[in-house]
């Protein structure tokens, strides 16, 4: 069994790299977009809040696979024809943005009202209140769940093999197709996903511990 894994590993490396790449792009873009929309959800004018709230609720109610197929097979009807890689990344980003929006909302919501009152009382306008009072505190509550949520992007990315993107999952299936050793290879694939996500979970827990003693 070890022999089969040693044989397969070099074939899996490009796919592993693609999985990491797709996850990283997804997380980077969705974090920026999700943070902006999350702030809009908390502080924005009512129409913006409704739109963001609706987007987040709808997306979180749809399986990732449906999102991916919608982007890859659905959007071309509107004239937007995306390559598998781009469609895969876009679908995962949409999924992940909704998650980040909720991470941001939760983080800001956990900060007591009195913090905003005190910041207003010393004469800080909104952007400064956000930058110097709310954001530094919210960041501590945002990071652990956010990092934990990165695992969802990594796990979700396995579905992009269904669009023909050559990720880790795709590589595993190709090797299984040649060697007919599904148990060893899917087991090894699961192990690789687990290692990545377990490292992320550990980092998330470490962050949580690090921030937990900074209390009011």
């Amino acid at each position: 069994m070890l022999g089969q894994i040693a044989y397969a590993f070099p074939f899996l490396l490009p796919g592993l790299w693609t999985t990491l790449e797709v996850s990283a792009i997804t997380v980077a873009i969705s974090t920026i977009v999700g943070a902006l929309l999350g702030v809009g959800l908390v502080y924005g004018p009512a129409p913006l809040r409704w739109v963001v709230r609706a987007f987040s609720d709808i997306v979180r109610g749809i399986p990732i696979l449906v999102l991916l197929f919608f982007v890859y097979y659905g959007l071309p009807i509107t004239g937007l024809n995306l390559q598998p890689f781009a469609a895969a990344v876009l679908g995962l980003i949409v999924f992940k943005v909704a998650q980040v929006i909720e991470n941001v909302r939760g983080a800001i919501g956990s900060i007591p009202r009195g913090q905003t009152d005190a910041a207003k009382a010393i004469g800080l306008p909104f952007p400064e209140r956000l930058a110097y009072v709310i954001a530094p505190q919210a960041l501590r509550r945002f990071l652990p769940p956010w990092l934990n949520g990165v695992t969802d992007a990594v796990k979700g990315s396995a579905l992009i093999s269904l669009l023909g993107v050559g990720d880790l999952m795709f590589g595993i299936q190709k090797v299984v197709g040649r060697t007919y050793e599904p148990l060893a290879l899917y087991g090894f694939g699961a192990f690789l996903y687990f290692v990545i996500n377990y490292a992320l979970s550990l980092a998330s827990r470490a962050l949580e511990r690090r921030f937990s003693y900074i209390r009011e």
Binding site: P112, G114, Q115, D117, A118, A119, K120, A121, I122, G123, L124, P125, F126, E128, Y132, V133, P136, Q137, R140, I214, R215, E216
Partner: protein, 261 residues
């Protein structure tokens, strides 16, 4: 007692939360250098009134002027609110100290004071730090400058809260039951700071349950109940045996009985 045009002039202020009217036409004036305390039963609208004075709450009717400028509205008749920047500029002229301190937990004592000085008053970090240390000295906390709020006692935190407010050199200081959340043995150290500020002529509007403090420190006491001002007089008259306001007499009677004043 100081005289002069009112620094703070509250006229017929009304405010409702939904269907409940919390302020029913409040009138109140505070002259420059004056210390006015507001007492009254809980739920009477004291906190709401104070929060209206620096527009942490909007008011539905009436007018609040500080130094001749309407606080929250650029057009009172049309109820047009000031812009965010404009509101911030107005709020910088009013200091507020809160019942639950509301210190910024991620900043040290000195940094709590420096934030407004650097971002609003535009002092350099160095000037701001000097000023913060000066005020920490005034409240007896020089050695705690670099401590986080979580490392300070309640009384110490509240003294930082006062220093943060006065370092901005506001025209008026608003104090909302600033000793209510403290253990009894820590109340004195905070009230001493307030007394020393009063002695220097700081204009203050103070909501308090410390009736003894109100009696000894204020030029005028305002009794607020049911969202309206029931009495507004110097302490001597408020505590007079023939005080005509029955509700106030009852309130003081219960209070003195409970606190053995």
């Amino acid at each position: 007692m100081p005289i002069g045009p009112p620094l703070l002039q509250i006229q017929n202020v009304q405010k409702s939360y939904g269907a409940t009217q919390v302020l029913r036409g409040v009138d109140l004036r505070v002259a420059k250098g004056e210390v006015v305390t507001v007492i009254g039963p809980s739920g009477g609208g004291k906190t709401t009134l104070l929060r209206c004075v620096n527009f942490l709450e909007s008011y539905d009717n009436g007018s609040i002027m500080i130094d001749g400028q309407e606080v929250g509205y650029r057009d009172v008749a049309a109820r047009k609110r000031r812009s965010e920047r404009d509101l911030a500029r107005m709020r910088a002229e009013t200091g507020m100290v809160f019942q639950l301190f509301n210190l910024f937990p991620h900043l040290s004592a000195a940094e709590n004071i420096m934030l407004g000085l650097t971002k609003v008053r535009k002092l350099s970090r160095r000037e701001a730090r000097d000023k913060a240390l000066h005020w920490l000295g005034r409240v007896g906390l020089t050695d705690k400058a670099d401590r986080l709020p979580s490392e300070l006692s309640g009384g110490q935190q509240q003294r930082v809260g006062i220093a943060r407010a006065v370092a901005m050199e506001p025209k008026i200081l608003l104090l909302d039951e600033i000793t209510s959340a403290l253990d009894p043995e820590l109340v004195g150290e905070v009230l001493d700071v307030v007394l020393s500020l009063a002695a220097e002529g700081m204009t203050m509007l103070v909501v308090t349950h410390e009736i003894g403090f109100a009696r000894d420190a204020s030029h005028r006491i305002v009794f607020m109940a049911g969202g309206a001002v029931g009495a507004d007089a110097p302490p001597r008259e408020i505590f007079a045996a023939d005080q005509p306001n029955e509700r106030l007499r009852g309130f003081l009677g219960r209070f003195t009985a409970a606190h053995r004043l």
